[in-house]
Structure formats: C-alpha cells, structure tokens
C-alpha cells in the first residue's frame, strides 16, 4: 500500500494516466464503503457487489472529471449510488436480502446465539422498513462517518434533507437498537 502521505488526488492522477495499480489502491480503500452503500440501496448482496463493481469501472473511465482538490470518497460514492439505482431500474431485485444474522465471530452458547439472532432480526426488519434514502443517509453518517454536507453531495439533496433523514432513521431504529444495546451491556 502506498504511503498515506500521498494524497488521493495524486493517486487518482496516476490512475488517470493509466496506472491500474494506483487505481487498485483507491479500490482497496473504498471497497467496503462502496459495497455497503450499494447493499443499503439494493438489499441484495450479489446485485450490490455487481453495482459496486460497475461504479468503480465508471469511476475509472471518468477519472478525468474528478477534481483532485476535493475528497475522492463522496465523488466515488455518488457514482456507486447511481450504478446501484441504475441496476435496480434495469432488473428487478432477485430477492430481498436476509438482513438477519451472519456468522458470529464467537459462539458463547446456543441461548446467546438465539438472543443475538432475534435482536439482529428485529433490527434488520426495522432497517428494511426505512425509506431507501433514510437508510442510505444513516449508513453514510453513522458507519462511514461522512458529514451531512458530503452525504448531501452523494445523494444530491439539500443538507437539511440529510439531517432530517438521519434523524428520522435513528428514531425509527431506536427501539430495536435499545434492545441491542441492552444485550451488548449484558454480554459485556
């Protein structure tokens, strides 16, 4: 991996000049964010990965339009969001993702697993019920750490709309999240 002091603008310039390795650096940096964003929009892991790949490819082709003076993340995520929306339009989502439990990293016992599974299921159901833009806004804000202004640029909505979306999403997820917090406290 390149030195962190090398700016994303410089890496993007190398990539624009045809350096695939430099672009690979950007892909590695933003793969998780791009995939999670696409997944938030499409709710299907396979479709989401395809959309994220489409987004990276589109970004590679249009690197000349990227302003190196600005952060790369919002620019890329805007493209990935477009790719996900385009994929959703072009074909019906094959199936709604089971947002419930992925494999646990440790296994404290069957009862605890069942609790965890139920809590995840409740949280996932509440998440699925959210409007897509609210879901996207809360993931970009709370998971990826983007500012309201940056999210507004990604979603092409006013900053106030993002604040409102994050607020409403948090409020809708409050109950299942409280149960999750309680479970985490008991476990901890």
């Amino acid at each position: 991996m390149r030195n962190d002091r090398v700016s994303e603008g410089e890496i993007a310039a190398l990539a624009h000049a045809g350096d695939a390795e430099a672009f690979g650096e950007l892909v590695a940096r933003y793969a998780a964010q791009a995939r999670r964003l696409a997944r938030t929009i499409l709710l299907d892991p396979d479709d989401a990965d395809d959309a994220a790949q489409d987004g990276f490819l589109a970004a590679w082709r249009h690197l000349g339009r990227y302003d190196p003076g600005r952060p790369f993340g919002p620019w890329l995520l805007r493209i990935v969001a477009n790719a996900a929306a385009d994929r959703r339009r072009r074909r019906r989502v094959r199936q709604t993702e089971e947002l419930s439990p992925a494999a646990a990293t440790r296994s404290p016992g069957p009862a605890a697993d069942a609790d965890r599974s139920a809590l995840r299921g409740a949280f996932a159901a509440a998440l699925r019920e959210l409007p897509e833009r609210q879901r996207t806004a809360i993931v970009l804000f709370d998971v990826e750490g983007y500012s309201h202004a940056e999210i507004a640029a990604v979603l092409r909505v006013p900053e106030g709309t993002v604040r409102s979306d994050v607020f409403h999403a948090r409020r809708a997820l409050r109950e299942p999240l409280a149960a999750w917090r309680g479970w985490k406290e008991n476990e901890g």
């Binding site: 690979g24 994220a52 309201h148 917090r181």
Partner: protein, 116 residues
C-alpha cells in the same frame, strides 16, 4: 453505555456496529481483484487501436499487393495496350475518327445514328 439521541450530530458507535453487522462485506481482497480484472479487460480504445495499428497496416499492405497482382492477372494481356494509348475495345471507329481528324466534325456525324 449511554444512549445516543436522534438529534446528536455525531456518529453513534453502537448504531454503527449494528449497521455493519446488518450489511456485512466479506472477501474484500476478492472484490478488489475482480474490479481490477474488469478494468484490465476494458483497456482504453486508443490503447487497443495502438496495439492493432502495426499488424493492421502490415495486413493492409499485403492485401493491397495481393489484390493488385490478382487484378492484373484477371485483366489479362489484351488490355495491356491501353497503357500505350491505344483505344479500348468499347470505343467505336467514329469517335476515333472524330478525335484524330484535324477539322471540326460534321453535325450529322455527331447526331446521326451511325448508319452512314
């Protein structure tokens, strides 16, 4: 653990963890590899043209040479005289006379049906 208010303008770490678990992204290395493979598969058009330019020009030269040779063979030696200024077989005697006579041609010769 304190509860985050929906009004807070700072990311909530517990919510972030719950969201990460709801949208897990595994096999990051495999994903990066796939993207790079796709990028290498779609090289820029100028690079593709550049790669094809030399063999393309060579192939065009060979085809031109072979085509010219074959055309020469097909036309045959009976047309070779055209190059020396002889009239071709499609050009009639009347026209030949018109072109070679010193004076202006007779109107009847030009407009006639050629039976005279």
């Amino acid at each position: 653990m304190t509860e985050h208010s929906p009004f807070d303008h700072t990311p909530d770490p517990v919510l972030a963890e719950a969201l990460r678990q709801a949208f897990p992204v595994g096999d990051e290395a495999g994903f990066v590899r796939h993207v790079l493979e796709r990028i290498r598969a779609v090289e820029p058009w100028w690079q593709i043209l550049g790669d094809w330019a030399r063999p393309g020009v060579a192939a065009a030269m060979i085809l031109t040479a072979v085509g010219g040779f074959l055309l020469g063979r097909l036309v045959g030696p009976e047309r070779a005289g055209l190059a020396a200024g002889e009239p071709g077989p499609g050009i009639g005697l009347e026209v030949t006379v018109l072109l070679t006579e010193g004076g202006p041609p007779d109107v009847e010769t030009i407009l006639g049906d050629g039976s005279q």
